[in-house]
Subunit: 218 residues, 4 copies
């Protein structure tokens, strides 16, 4: 079951995706047991750990440029007895070169390079795969929406989530606002082909190799 | 014009109604130039000062039990050159005994005694007058909604306001949530009379004295 | 994986818990494979179906007074090939008499009888069990918060969730607000005992039998 | 006093700025009695009328391309006995050519041409003047934030406002969400001059003429 409580994670000064946003992000990703998942801007590893528990026969590639984050992910993976996380201490989009073809891409943080990251993900993401991204800035959100609009092979939905916790203060329930987050969920469909292209006979590897070469040539 | 910026007020550790909530509260109150206004839980006096500038030929009675608040109201009244605020260092509802009949009651804080405060306000509030209350707890909000439902001579509207400020962080606009506030606006109408009561001839003072005696007997 | 899309459910005029609220409700409930779950005000059965898929070796008791809802739950259970839902066409709290001891209670709708429903749930809920309730009215929310405060054996958290969908309108992303929902999650702990009670030696079954008798005697 | 109730305006199918957003927009604009105000995408004229009542010795230029809107503005101006609104049935930014130098620009709708509109406003807006814009799309908001970042002579603040009305349904207070709106408030400062420019002696008209020529030459 997803939904580990925030307090259960070992946390440093690294920002962490809050429980409710994490739950929605993981649920929107619709991860399967054999999936390969990449977690970009993994931070404390909270999204990686929840993903790794679902993708129990797959792998999670947790990418973060910050060595402190790498430490925390390592500690949390150990704490939650998760052994299918591959930790990559490098920056996206470059770090994505080290990753095989993936089913799911989670974006917790993009460091202002969202378009490059999306291009790099697109090269690795299988048809039918999903990207789920969290945004705390208008600019990165707008950039992803723009990228999706230009792209021909994603359908997506986007939403803002705002949580107000009710704190018990002397018997009164007082609203405490958490900062709102946007979640964008994009599903990759087979690339549209122009209708007048002649389809030559190909070997059984066709669909797979075709897609990867298209991706490489973009 | 209403809408003094938060930074312009002299502030201590006393909580202050934020600019946007203040603007909406004052606008909902529809204060006139000759109005008598009471501000309960006046805090730094921000609502009192905005009210006093509109009720330029009336008075604002600023009530707060906290001596630190009284100090701040005094300083802010001086800073904004407002001379029609009467400051009462006492606790509501008792402090309301010192106040004449009023046109507008603002409730910034109720210290858990909202029902008693509403009863005391009701005794002082003229027909056609308004109560505008800000709530940060579910319990006090629910108590006022309940009081209004039982009362026969108020119409009201209620709403929650949530503000997310966009902070500029390195060229990116990042949402920063403020805690949500509920604003309840109630307008007092002439008391309904039961239809089967025999109306005896009365002097011209009837409606007024009738209402105040009812109020006294509640 | 939780998070069935809203469109996938067969829906009538019966209100349905929206996907994001459903995801959070189910995740907060932390349902296990062998759990007995009761879903009060089951509506279209969306919470029941997501629960039944997790509690695959347990049962979900879906309660609704509305025959139209019963129809929809039946149809949706069939559509999603779920065979561990027991549908009860009756009104809570009375309907709860027909239910065995439970691990999880979900409250989607309380029809203004939240306190009676909570009392009835409390009699059936095992120690360590959870109640997760969704509220769309201030009064029912306040009543549950009040009930929890008086109760001695629950810890809880409460929050408001607001979702704004970004609709694509001619290439522009326009916010469309969904009505906010409060989610209250309460976990039942062993009842506090008064400190001056003499503890007699008991067999290893003590804590369990003790608690169940307490529950019965309430 | 600002804050006319929504129901008081004559409304067609033209979208109208809701009362609370209108109150905040007008308050943020800090309009003075002698100000020249332009209202772009005036719709029903609700912002124009509230502005015209404050700028009683100034003028409001209400711009809308939609003839239905022009009709409604005319009717509403008559209803509220406001005679200082000049109605321009044309599209911004072109319509701004017909407008004199202004103190305040309100943007209720930008029809996807926000950057051109901001450039045209900038040519007309006096130093110390204000732009207050309402946004319902991420893209137009992002475009204005970007424009402001590039500009050297505005300081601004931006925020999202979300209102949930509490509807009384059978004695229960049910939240009904309004779509959130972003409000951006920008204040124009004198243009920065590069520090190594030799300042020649000039007449007392210097700062004013300098700025206007800069504006014309942009």
């Amino acid at each position: 079951m997803i939904g580990i409580e925030d307090e259960k994670f070992i946390r440093g000064k690294v920002p962490m995706t809050k429980q409710e946003i994490r739950i929605l992000t993981i649920a929107k990703a619709q991860i399967c047991a054999t999936d390969y998942v990449v977690d970009i801007g993994a931070g404390t590893g909270s999204l990686s750990i929840e993903s790794a528990k679902i993708a129990e026969h797959g792998y999670v590639f947790a990418i973060d440029k910050n060595p402190e984050a790498i430490d925390l992910i390592t500690q949390n993976a150990e704490k939650f007895s998760v052994d299918n996380i591959i930790i990559i201490n490098s920056e996206a989009p470059d770090a994505l070169r080290q990753v095989p073809r993936i089913d799911i891409a989670l974006i917790g943080g993009s460091g202002g390079r969202i378009v490059e990251i999306l291009n790099a993900i697109d090269e690795k993401l299988k048809t039918g795969g999903r990207i789920v991204a969290n945004f705390i800035t208008i600019q990165s959100l707008a950039a992803m929406l723009d990228w999706l609009k230009k792209s021909e092979n994603y359908i997506y939905d986007a939403m803002q989530i705002q949580i107000n916790k009710l704190q018990n203060v002397g018997g009164y329930s007082m609203s405490q606002a958490l900062n709102p987050v946007h979640i964008v969920t994009a599903k990759k469909f087979p690339q549209k082909k122009s209708p007048n292209i002649i389809k030559l006979p190909v070997d059984s590897q066709e669909s797979k190799s075709n897609i990867s070469s298209v991706a490489v040539n973009r």
